[in-house]
């Protein structure tokens, strides 16, 4: 009996081993090392370093002006990106699902940006913001477009949002569409017979029945918006100055570009991890509860 259990365990280990080795080397060990270095003042090069306790964390949160402004900027971006992306994706999904013709065409159009690399498609937007819109704003009708889209942090915040919306809603739209398709037809018909307005349909039929999709999509957008990097890098490079610097950029700047404060950068990375963990945990637990009620 014991030998059989031993054999079962052995075969389990053999099947899991290749994946586990990769996982250990490239995920677990870096995570443990990062947590460890976050309590040191290592510069990434020297052989020696000192253990500094929670000093890095205190410095990051209390006296690091750039890190704090990066957190604030990212937080502002996360809130608006999560709201706008989900509202637009849901709107698109409902509009497309309510059509009888050209469904596939619209789905392709709105999903297309998701296939492209963020870097490559954002460079197209750089062209639009720096060449096309200035040319458009020469016409009287489009005079209002005459803004410094990439040069003024106040405005470029909205440029970043505009591009993130463009590149991000496709996947969400697909998830919402498949959830809407799952709503039983007889419920919709009953509601229409009872004289429900489109708003009532949304409030009492659609939203409660796609609650699981809402949970997933908000989780996905929270995650991706906190981690945003490529888009901001390609559009503004974090500038002008540090006007549009996001958390990930601040971490990289600390670790590499001249600063070489490796331990300090690690502690900022841990802070980012904790922020995402706590916020998504709260979101999922709250929304899961509501799903059951619905």
């Amino acid at each position: 009996m014991t030998s059989r259990r031993y054999r079962a365990s052995l075969s389990l280990i053999l099947f899991v081993l290749p994946a586990f080795v990769l996982y250990l080397l490239f995920l677990v060990i870096p995570m443990i090392q990062g947590s460890y270095y976050s309590f040191t003042d290592w510069n990434g090069l020297n052989k020696t370093y000192d253990f500094v306790g929670i000093q890095n964390f205190v410095e990051a949160l209390k006296s690091d002006r750039y890190f704090r402004s990066a957190i604030l900027f990212t937080a502002k971006y996360v809130i608006l990106a999560v709201v706008f992306q989900n509202v637009l994706a849901l709107l698109l999904a409902m509009l497309i699902e309510s059509r009888t013709r050209a469904k596939g065409l619209f789905r392709t159009i709105f999903f297309l940006p998701n296939m492209l690399s963020v870097i490559i498609s954002t460079f197209m937007w750089v062209f639009v913001f720096s060449k096309v819109i200035p040319a458009l704003s020469e016409y009287a009708v489009f005079k209002f477009l005459d803004l410094s889209w990439l040069g003024d942090p106040q405005v470029s915040f909205w440029s970043i949002l505009l591009v993130s919306l463009w590149g991000g809603v496709g996947t969400l739209m697909l998830i919402y569409m498949s959830a809407i398709q799952g709503i039983p037809q007889h419920l919709k018909e009953a509601a229409i017979i009872d004289g429900a307005t489109p708003f009532h349909m949304l409030r009492y039929i659609t939203l409660p029945l796609i609650a699981h999709a809402l949970t997933i999509c908000i989780f996905l957008t929270l995650n991706s918006s906190f981690k945003v990097y490529d888009l901001v890098y390609a559009l503004t490079g974090g500038g002008p100055g540090r006007g549009t610097q996001v958390i990930t950029m601040n971490i990289l700047e600390e670790a590499y570009q001249g600063n070489n404060r490796y331990g300090y950068a690690s502690s900022k990375a841990i802070i980012l991890f904790l922020i995402i963990l706590v916020i998504t945990m709260i979101q999922v637990s709250i929304m899961k509860k509501r799903e059951v009620e619905a």
């Binding site: 079962a8 389990l12 099947f15 899991v16 290749p18 994946a19 990769l22 996982y23 490239f26 995920l27 677990v28 870096p30 995570m31 090392q33 509009l95 309510s98 059509r99 619209f106 392709t108 159009i109 999903f111 297309l112 940006p113 998701n114 492209l116 690399s117 870097i119 490559i120 498609s121 197209m124 062209f127 639009v128 060449k131 096309v132 040319a135 458009l136 463009w166 697909l174 998830i175 307005t197 489109p198 699981h212 996905l220 906190f226 981690k227 990097y229 490529d230 890098y233 958390i247 990930t248 971490i251 670790a255 490796y262 690690s266 990375a269 980012l272 991890f273 995402i276 963990l277 998504t280």
Partner: protein, 274 residues
């Protein structure tokens, strides 16, 4: 509001949004056929003649063949690694009902919450220490390590739907565990394997930050990195830049055109189950 008004309104909103989504792509394509001077003088107009000079120039100057090949190496290495390792592990973890199995699975799933940005600094050092820095193959191996957890989760769920009797009859017929896996089980995992390939293809082909950290020689650059470098180098010549952007997007758009149905299905399933 009558249904008719509502329907017209829906078309208008969809049309306006479609313009927003297609506008940058349209502008990029139109201007990629102009000369530098034509872009400068009239951004909004159509090109007077259809010239492919920008494309041939971008193809050569951005060494599209080399960087395309590098991208293929990264993507294929990553996907093969993820599919082989995760299908083995996901299958076995799903079939074994022991405490050890439960713990290992929990470890994999919990790690899905670790953001790449939290480990990127130490991961780069790890890759360097293992000699994986600086080569597309090495990058693919590292990506496989980052991708196994999600794939194991998806395989684990899918295997539950495959009857155990299949494994048992195979072992009764004297088929070894490994042979049974590759001959009987793996072919049944094709649908979920396709989902996993789609999700990882989009990630690996378009990834930016990890390749930037791991590939430091421009001859090893992937398409995205090459375009990024190209953008910095020729930033005044928009016609050339735009041609390079369009050119480098063609492979993935073609894949999308051919496999649209599976890709859409893969993304929805991957999200709903993940």
């Amino acid at each position: 509001m009558s249904r008719r008004v509502y329907s017209v309104l829906a078309w208008v909103v969809l049309a306006v949004l479609a313009v927003y989504f297609l506008f940058p792509i349209y502008m990029a394509i139109v201007n990629s056929f102009k000369t530098e001077g034509e872009v400068y003088n009239s951004v909004l107009g159509l090109p007077p003649t259809l010239k492919f000079d920008n494309y041939t120039e971008a193809f050569k100057k951005a060494s599209m063949l080399r960087s395309g090949w590098n991208t293929i190496i990264v993507t294929v290495t990553g996907i093969v690694g993820i599919v082989v390792c995760s299908s083995l592990a996901g299958y076995k973890l799903s079939r074994t009902r022991s405490r050890l199995s439960g713990w290992i699975f929990m470890l994999f799933v919990a790690s899905m919450l670790i953001p790449f940005q939290t480990i990127m600094v130490t991961l780069t050092r790890m890759a360097r220490d293992l000699g994986l820095q600086g080569s597309p193959f090495g990058l693919g191996v590292v990506c496989a390590g980052l991708g196994v957890n999600m794939a194991i989760f998806l395989y684990h769920g899918f295997v539950k739907g495959i009857p155990r009797e299949l494994d048992e009859s195979a072992s009764m017929d004297g088929c070894g565990e490994w042979r049974a896996f590759f001959l009987i089980i793996f072919p049944l995992l094709v649908p979920i394997t396709f989902t996993i390939i789609v999700l990882n293809l989009l990630w690996l082909w378009n990834d930016f930050l990890l390749p930037v950290l791991l590939l430091n020689d421009y001859r090893k650059y992937t398409l995205v990195l090459t375009i990024n470098m190209f953008f910095g180098k020729y930033s005044r010549d928009w016609a050339l830049i735009l041609a390079s952007l369009i050119l480098s997007s063609i492979p993935i758009v073609m894949i999308f055109a051919f496999f649209q149905r599976w890709i859409i299905q893969g993304i929805t399933e991957g999200a709903v189950k993940g």
